[in-house]
């Protein structure tokens, strides 16, 4: 006979901005059911209605200050597709660079500020690694916490060179970018990247050079790397991995084995005349849907997107494509766990239902052989996923951090590819139209993994979609709730 179900209401769940609540049903120490309630509505879609088309460049980045560059990119590409612009190759590179440095910034910020601090919780004091974790990762005072949080401000200095400031610049505009960097900007950007690599990525996070790390292509390679030298085992990556296994974070956060990525980073020579239809084949990081049960990859297309508003506080029919949404907020937003309980809507795939998005998904899709032959391919995370028998809190965090080295290399490549004397902007003709872009939610806690202390959850992911994102700026995130099948 199984134990009774105990229900726990947690308000707030921090680390995701403070206005997220969670209800969980616990049975035999395992979360069997969970509901997440996003408790803030600002109505950005409503604010944007009847405004200047370029208002999206000002408003959508403010949907989220953690991943504002993603929203800005999305708004700019959406206008580009609507106005049928031409985007100079320099501008594509400059937009990608902005998005990349925002994500690289978010790695140490998320790792130390939001994630590793849970490893210092006294619930883990039995772990052999606990003492070291407290020393390194205690909030504000931990040795690596302080280094990591402080250095996290550096990559976005590159953003400032392009857009004047981070967060909240609107330098990406239809037809290109506002800036025209000079040689001094490029040189500075380069040296900032180097500083970040030499002072954090290599000595603290990896304990080896980027080159050595890049040789890791399989789970066996990773295990061999871990044992190869004490510097590897004692790096933040090494300690994270060993302690995660020790406290069992490879066992939690399974998810349901189906993943999506829209793809990201348009190629500078292939998306100069952007259209919604030509996007998939123009991306460096390919899109896709991965089914872990059948081990199959396919491409993702925006036309499959649906928003199920049935459990959210909107008075609209369910199962709508984002283009059809009207954002009609219900006046009385009572929490009814059998009915409506959140401002977040559940984004689904028309045929495949609920899918998980985020860093793990992106890496699982990077391991597919689908897409164009020249697109990025990386087998590592998919191999670990298979060897460890699926997803976990540990693998999600690893996947996020693993992406960092690749993004770093892409940033280096962009700095080499800029042709400083060529144009950065081609003035478009404004017209009516419908466009689509995709905020690639590189950054921040929106796509964060674990709540390991409330833990034992196979299902909770703090996958909060910000209510109030532009109608043309919707993203697909895993369902923000999980209900009995």
């Amino acid at each position: 006979m199984s134990a009774a179900v105990q229900t726990l209401d947690i308000s707030p769940v921090g680390r995701v901005e403070g206005d997220l609540d969670v209800r969980v049903d616990i049975q035999d120490g395992v979360v069997v059911n969970a509901w997440t309630s996003a408790e803030l509505f600002r109505g950005f879609e409503i604010i944007l209605r009847d405004k200047d088309p370029q208002a999206g460049l000002v408003v959508t980045p403010r949907a989220c200050g953690i991943c504002g560059a993603s929203h800005l990119t999305c708004a700019a590409w959406a206008l580009d597709t609507a106005w049928k612009t031409t985007v100079p190759r320099n501008a594509i590179l400059a937009r990608n660079l902005g998005q990349i440095v925002e994500s690289i910034q978010s790695l140490p910020r998320h790792h130390y500020g939001l994630f590793m601090i849970d490893y210092t919780n006294k619930n883990y004091s039995n772990s052999a690694y606990y003492e070291e974790a407290v020393k390194r990762w205690s909030p504000f005072t931990g040795t690596n916490y302080e280094i990591g949080v402080t250095i996290s401000g550096r990559p976005v200095e590159i953003y400032a060179l392009l857009g004047g400031q981070w967060p909240h610049s609107s330098y990406m505009v239809p037809g290109g970018v506002m800036c025209a960097p000079t040689l001094t900007d490029v040189t500075r950007a380069w040296s900032i990247l180097e500083h970040f690599r030499r002072n954090w990525m290599e000595p603290i996070w990896l304990g080896c050079t980027l080159e050595r790390y890049e040789e890791i292509r399989s789970y066996d390679d990773l295990m061999a790397w871990l044992d190869e030298r004490p510097e590897h085992a004692n790096s933040d990556l090494g300690l994270f991995w060993r302690m995660s296994l020790d406290i069992g974070l490879d066992k939690y956060g399974r998810g349901h084995d189906r993943y999506v990525s829209w793809g990201y980073l348009p190629h500078e020579d292939r998306y100069n005349k952007p259209t919604i239809e030509s996007r998939n084949a123009s991306l460096i990081m390919k899109s896709g849907v991965y089914n872990g049960t059948t081990d199959t990859h396919k491409l993702m297309d925006q036309s499959f997107t649906r928003e199920d508003v049935g459990r959210a506080w909107y008075d609209e029919p369910g199962h709508l494509h984002p283009f059809e949404r009207t954002t009609k907020a219900i006046q009385k937003n009572e929490v009814d766990h059998e009915g409506r309980y959140s401002w977040s809507v559940a984004v689904t795939h028309d045929q495949d239902g609920r899918l998980e998005a985020g860093p793990l998904s992106r890496q699982l899709i990077a391991g597919g052989r689908h897409g164009e032959s020249w697109q990025h391919y990386d087998p590592l995370v998919l191999d670990i996923y298979k060897k460890l028998g699926g997803a976990s809190v540990m693998l999600r965090h690893f996947a996020r951090m693993h992406e960092g080295v690749k993004l770093y290399r892409e940033a280096e490549r962009i700095l080499r590819e800029f042709r400083l004397k060529d144009s950065w902007y081609e003035k478009p003709t404004e017209k009516d139209g419908r466009g689509w872009g995709r905020p690639r939610r590189f950054a921040g806690p929106c796509a964060t993994g674990s709540r390991c202390r409330t833990a034992r959850s196979r299902t909770i992911r703090s996958s909060r979609r910000r209510p109030g994102m532009s109608a043309r700026a919707r993203t697909m995130v895993p369902a923000a709730r999980s209900r009995r099948p």
Partner: protein, 320 residues
Amino acid sequence: MANLLWLQGGACSGNTMSFLNAEEPSACDLVTDFGINVLWHPSLGMELGENLQKMMKALVSGEIPLDIFVFEGSVVNAPGGTGEWNRFAGRPMKDWVADLAKVSNFVVAIGDCATWGGIPATAPNPSDSVGLQFLKRAHGGALGAGYRSKAGLPVINVPGCPAHPDWITQIVVAVATGRAGDLSLDEFQRPKTFFTSFTQTGCTRNMHFAYKVSATEFGQRKGCLFYDLGCRGPMTHSPCNRILWNRQSSKTRAGMPCMGCTEPEFPFFDLAPGTVFKTQTVMGVPKDMPTGVDKTGYIKLTAAAKAASPAWAEEEIFVV
């Protein structure tokens, strides 16, 4: 030791992210060097659920003294004045704000949403958002025009979308270390030390402004952004070209027009069609003049500037 609590209402976390970019002092320095005890922060705090609710109640009852209450984001009043569209720790955030403001020594509003309502309060203001003590230029806001914290000060407004990290940390350190008396606030309760000079002060395009040479399109390596692209640098109070962003640059240096984000009207013209990144003019003359300049003076100045303009001013000046 000064106890600091940081909460977010109708916010995007942008000010928090900006705060984490701080260098002198850094976010960690506040704790380690300046004796600030961060009781809780929405992104960085350890506690959750019941534990946090307990702490919040202890703050409201005075059991735990609250020295500095930092608020980021707008105060949401929808629907119908209940504030239920933004709940936190089991009740409307606006009720927590009202209770905490009563027991705080200092209240610091960080960013436009907390100061004037910001982007959420842009027409039609669906969430019925206000700032702590203002809605745009109107005095009042969530706490009322007469509000004073326990130390006798109104809300200290640090506007900006987001606020610059230095503006945040320097004000927090000033009040935590007993220097509140050195703060002078302007009529919008902004610290004068930051918000008396203009964005234009220190802009690298100032020579182009003087000679009326315009950047007519984005992506140009010369020209002032005032004449065609809607720059608000001459009428916006901010030190953006004096205290650079991310230690590197500013919007106008990088080629982006200042949007006037430290002023209560941001976003200007409510983002109506035709107003974004385009200078609003009447018969060729900008509608909004540089602060203190009248139309006649402006026209005279323009004629003189154009006549005096040297040839180099028309050439690319930020050369590769």
